[in-house]
Amino acid sequence: MSISQAPAQTVAGIGHRTVRRRRRRGGLALPICLGLLLTILVLLPIVLMFLGAARTGTFVDPRSQFSLRSFEAVYTTLPFLRTLAVTVGASLLVSLIACVAGIALAWLLARTDIRMRSFMEQCVIAPLYLSPFVGALAWLILASPNAGLLNVMARNVFGIEGSIVNVVTATGVILIMALYNVPYAYMTVSSALKGMDPSMEEASYLNGAGTFATAWKITFPIVRPAIISAFFFVFVLTCGTFSIPAALGGTQAMPFLAVDIYRAVATFPLDYPRAAAIGTLLFWISLLGVACYRYASRVATRFVTVTARGYRTRLVRLRGFQIPALAFILVYVLLAIVLPYLALLYVAFTSFTSSSILDANFTLANFKAVLGSVAVQQSIWNTLLVGLLSPTLCVALGIAIAYAVRRLRVSGSGFLDYVAMFPIAVPGIVFGTGIFWTYLMTPAYGTIWILVIAFVASYIPFAYRMIDTSMIQIDKSLEEASAVCGGSHWHTARKITFVLIKPGVLSAWILVFIFSIREISAAILLASPSNKVLSVMSWDYLEFGNVQNATIIGLLQTAILGLGIFVGRFVLRVKLSQAA
């Protein structure tokens, strides 16, 4: 089985009748159930965010009343509009840098004869296993202006005065955000490159076009929708990013709306309406990005179908460019993985953060303290529980929505499709606040379930989109053949549809698993004694200046992610590098 570019065509006649019969069977029960579920999971927290912004205090503050004061302040005053402009501008820059690097990496690994391809693919997506927050923390240790390890080494070894690299600046924040978004751009473009029909490139070569002309005139136009999709996806993610700019100096390095939201709910006077109003502002910007992303995604995915035809991709021979190409990938891996992990390992074994490796006090006491801590042990267990429950439920919901929308074509499919994508437009920290208010008075509050609910709601767009894409790619004639042969509705779904979308489902599971283990923004707001996860422990330690323990927690998170990825890669045979 392979992927070709031929558009999916359904067989007329019996196939249409089967579809109509399925739709009738589905009735209204399924769309109503799914609609209600999505309304509670997704719409209610967003509605509460808007309502919360139109008050003078929290919903339970007896002195709080209706007011548009926060909306006015956020939407009409210069400081917020300036921050909005900086946030949008920086996010566009991050997307541009991440996409350029992602496209280059995807092309090198999908279309050239570069050496150690499989290993390099794993290396390129490896930054996904490191929490961006922990990555930012590592870069703070590496490249803060006075005490950054790289700057101190440059000073001590080469006598360079000042700093050679400084991440506590707007440029530094943008570059670090871009660094950790490259895998998303890479995965989207790589998937499109692997999904496109290479015979067109082959035809170009046969007609005498060179490598560059073929890439520019054939490959690039075909994967352009995927590139646009990746661009807006990274843009939306970046707009709502809180952990990296917060870890790299807060608003002092660069004003950023998500950091303003955190400041509004973390420093006196706590101003939840203002935080919610900033959240609504981000919501509109992100919604615009999501609309562009959805449009580009649709264009990108409608080309590919799974059929019985096969092609062999002709690889561009790099010849003398083999070394520069490898060097390019290795530099990326060095910056995104090797240096940050070395910094984390260094700090984890020191008694205090010393800028001079030679003067550092090395110790195992931090590991003993962290691993012996009952709170950490509980949070490891909680993390594992959330890491298993969230992706499982998220993927189950994603399958249900995708099947209802694509195969049953239930009434209100458009509504389900749109609402399922909504959370991507809401920054985690804002969505966490909405979830907090939604479930505050329910038994789920303070339990592990509120985190599971928050993560399922936050990541349903990813699971749904990946499963939906897998379903679109399946030629309906395969299912219709089963129906024609007398296969029941459920039998066909079980034996044909679900089997064919299995790779997409597993990839979605792994992706949501990664997100759930790393998530920090919503988890901080929803943390309670019985549901603390590792990311929250890491944040707590950092906030108390215990960088050593924060990095050890970051390493523990990586170990759990690594275990999950290992199981996914070698037991379930999931290729995350091809999932987008």
Partner: protein
Amino acid sequence: MTMKAIPGFDRGISRRHLLQLGALGAAATLIPAVKPALSQTGPDADLVAAAKAEGTLTYYHTTAIDITGTWTSAFTKKYGITTQNVRGPSYPLFDRWLTEERVGQHMADVIQITDTVLIESAHDEGLIGEYTPPSGAGIKPSMKKEGIWYTIFVNAMGIAWNSQKVTPEEDKFIREGGWEALTDPRWAGRYASSTPASGGSSYSFVYMFLGGKRDQFGPTYQKKLAALKPQIYESKSPMYDRLGAGEHAIVDQASQSDMGNLYLKGAPIRWIFPSPTPANLTVQAISAHAPHSNAAKLFQEWAASAEGQAEWFKLSGVSSARDDTVDPRKASKADWYKEDWYADPADLYLDYLNDPGYVDPAKPIIAEWNQIYGR
């Protein structure tokens, strides 16, 4: 000895008066012995039994995770009652608890905070459980509001510097210059501070300069500091880590407990407490609807006792809220007490808790500070 021989006594004094005086004198000499004895009486057996039956309690705290965990484990070890510790920054944690209480999600049994004004406003709202632990009698009068909140420890805040990032001349300059040394232009780009909006201790620190001692320091002093363009942290603890690493040469709001811990880890840190020295109380109160009310009372009793407060000394270099609890390191001249540069704060500024400016719920000095620092 005759009555005449006793100075100050008049000839007319009777034998009965003398006996009464003697009895009073004897009673007076007994008071210091009785006072600690009373405070050491320990909790009521019924309370202990009821608390043990509850078996657990939830503690919302703002102090460091591991230190607090070790401290509460001493309580667990003594009474077999486990604690669920939830850490958070002062204001968000308090607000979270307030919200939970208002909607009837009673999760916390005991809440710790560095801002007594907030505890008292919650008490006015009926959210604080009133309980007077017998051991609370030993807490200094200015460090408790009887039946409402009790101080666990007192933290003094001064100036700290990285000894590898300042010259010997600068070292001397800081030690001799007091608070004014911090305003010297030489610290431009080398100095860091923390916003008073981050929590009660930072607020208390800044309050001294813009509130209580405004005549001595005031906005002029803060403007000189702001002109140095310091790195401002949202929370002061990460600032200490960066000071130890050498990112900053000098910081203010250097708390005794944090500097002591950094020193013990080997960081090149020195600190002084210029006069007057802002200090801050870390207090705790019982939630009115504590799900484990007996365990909460027992914990409050233990935390206010000499034993509970002494447990803090094993973990952190702070001042006790009790007279009968002192840091053993100080007596033996151990750790930083042995350093020639170290001196205890001589003039603690703590009598601000009832200042109208301090108790103003709007905390106007935060807005003033933000304006001075362009935030």
